[in-house]
């Protein structure tokens, strides 16, 4: 179990939690979407600049556990410069990863791949899922 803990809280996750790179406000955001996990109180706000063809800038704010905040930070890192369709593909892969499905070798989800250990902690999947649930809402409004 202690080893599984290490796979849940990978070093890279703790780094994103302690020093998130995309935390902040976007005063000219095209969309601002808020989400929370009513069961645990995690809160997340994503702000996106750009259009469905290209999301140019992403910022987030919120508070919650290491997993929720690190996932939000890692996802924000991956989104900038991508289209809505590309982002949906990433989210689909993340959801499959949460079910324990390994990624294909050629796939590259960047730091987000460190979330793979979550599949062994079903009660914590929702912590990470908050970030892509909010992004899915945001893309619909873009």
């Amino acid at each position: 179990m202690i080893n599984e803990l290490d796979s849940l809280y990978r070093e890279i996750i703790l780094e994103h939690y302690k020093s998130p790179s995309k935390k902040g406000d976007l005063p000219n955001a095209a969309v601002t979407v808020e989400g929370n996990n009513p069961l645990c109180g995690d809160e997340l706000v994503y702000q996106l600049e750009g259009n469905p063809e290209c999301i140019t800038k992403v910022r987030f704010s919120g508070n919650g556990c290491a997993i929720s905040q690190a996932a939000a930070s890692m996802l924000a890192d991956e989104l900038e410069g991508k289209s809505a369709a590309e982002i949906i593909t990433i989210i689909t892969k993340l959801k499959a990863m949460m079910q324990g499905q390994p990624l294909d070798e050629e796939e590259d989800l960047g730091d987000l791949e460190s979330l793979a250990g979550l599949s062994k902690f079903p009660v914590r999947v929702k912590c990470a899922a908050l970030s892509w649930n909010v992004i899915e809402q945001a893309l619909k409004q873009l």
């Binding site: 202690i2 645990c40 109180g41 929720s68 912590c127």
Partner: protein
């Protein structure tokens, strides 16, 4: 330590043998169950009562003339008498069985509240209520255009009773508050509230879901108009709640749920109601659950609720001493062990409670992490969530030590210097 005095109050070694789940291993470690405020574990006698009932006695109650139906009714009604005795209610007619404490509050809100409240009337609650003693009142306030008022909570987890005179007036029709906070552990000084509210004609309802498992309850000494509690937090099975109310209040209240059992006569267009408490028990109740709840009450009565309270006070003192000695641990609620039950909500520096909970779980220690169904209270303290360790009769002082060791593991894991 006070090990000798502690053991004189309760024979915890013996008690632990009565709870089969305590021999379970969690992730390869012995279970340290510190989530008793959420639900308690069940002794073998309660498990046996459930199985015995279904094996030997099962039948529907209050109907049928065969022997099983008679025995089932007798067993079910005997627990009503036991419950009345446990709460020192003047009569078993004052005891209504529901599904849980939440349903008991909803019953009060929808029956008494909805039939009595008028626009502009006030319902007085507190900032520390569990959602179950808040949301039902929000619903009835909307239905009747009554207004909700709240007794604030101080920084150290007490009700701000200094403000009570400005909050209670002749407009106040219902006061509903918790006897012990499921988050802060605060045992509220309800006497003054009850006295002042009743003097102005208001009814006072107590949420004893957290208090009843841990301290003696005497509804006549309290003088409250109604009180609710829940079987599953006091060693009994899930699915059984208790509503105590003064008989005259129950008589004056219209039914909550309609159906079989709660009627005297039914015609196609209209029905008349059964006498109390049956008027409030529509449909087949959780008979097996109630019967097993009776075994739980016997178990607690055998231990003696004074002893339970005294023992848990010892645990609370030890836990408070140990937790407050940790410089990075912040305890919410009263900063002493006297005005609280053995419930400790805490935080560790900037760590989120879920991360604390996951690491503790990996070491076999079960705590709750979250908002504890008290979101307004989380906002009051400016936090999204808290970690909570709550103790019961089968916990030992060594469980406190294990929690402190677990906290050290949490620090180590998240590389917090201490």
């Amino acid at each position: 330590m006070e090990t000798t005095t502690v053991q004189a109050m309760l024979n915890v070694d013996q008690i632990r043998k009565d709870f089969p789940i305590l021999s379970r291993q969690i992730h390869g470690k012995p279970l340290v169950y510190l989530d008793n405020a959420a639900t308690s574990q069940k002794p073998q006698v309660v498990l046996d009562a459930l199985s015995q009932y279904y094996s030997n006695t099962n039948a529907n109650v209050h109907r049928g003339i065969h022997l099983l139906a008679e025995e089932a009714t007798e067993a079910y009604e005997a627990v009503r008498v036991k419950t009345a005795r446990f709460l020192n209610a003047p009569s078993e007619k004052c005891i209504v069985f529901t599904r849980n404490a939440t349903e008991s509050v909803n019953l009060l809100a929808q029956s008494w509240g909805r039939s009595q409240l008028k626009p502009g009337d006030e319902i007085l609650l507190t900032e520390m209520e569990h959602h179950s003693n808040l949301v039902p009142w929000q619903m009835v306030a909307e239905q009747t255009q009554a207004k909700l008022q709240f007794i604030p909570v101080t920084d150290d987890g007490y009700l701000a009773l200094g403000q009570i005179d400005s909050l209670i007036s002749s407009k106040t029709k219902i006061v509903s508050l918790t006897l012990m906070s499921n988050v802060l552990g605060t045992i509220n000084a309800v006497d003054e509230v009850i006295e002042k509210a009743q003097a102005l004609g208001a009814k006072v309802f107590l949420d004893a879901a957290q208090a009843a498992p841990h301290m003696p309850i005497d509804v006549q000494a309290l003088g409250c108009d109604a009180l609710v509690c829940s079987s599953h937090k006091m060693l009994g099975p899930t699915g059984v709640g208790v509503l105590y109310a003064k008989e005259e209040l129950l008589e004056a209240m219209p039914p909550f749920l309609g159906g079989g059992e709660m009627i005297l006569d039914v015609k196609l267009e209209k029905s008349t109601w059964n006498e109390v408490p049956f008027k409030f028990e529509a449909g087949t109740p959780n008979i097996a659950g109630v019967v097993a709840f009776g075994a739980a009450l016997d178990y607690l009565t055998e231990l003696g609720m004074e002893n339970v309270r005294a023992y848990e006070h010892q645990i609370a003192e030890y836990a408070f001493e140990k937790l407050s000695a940790q410089p990075d641990v912040h305890i919410y609620g009263p900063q002493n062990a006297t005005d609280r039950g053995a419930v400790f909500s805490f935080s560790i520096d900037e760590l989120h409670p879920h991360d604390i909970g996951t690491v503790l779980d990996a070491h076999g220690i079960a705590v709750r992490a979250g908002h504890h169904c008290a979101k307004p209270l989380m906002r009051r303290y400016g936090v999204p969530a808290m970690a909570r360790a709550s103790f019961y009769i089968y916990n030992q002082l060594s469980d406190v030590d294990k929690l402190i060791e677990g906290i050290q593991e949490v620090r180590h894991f998240f590389k917090i210097k201490h």
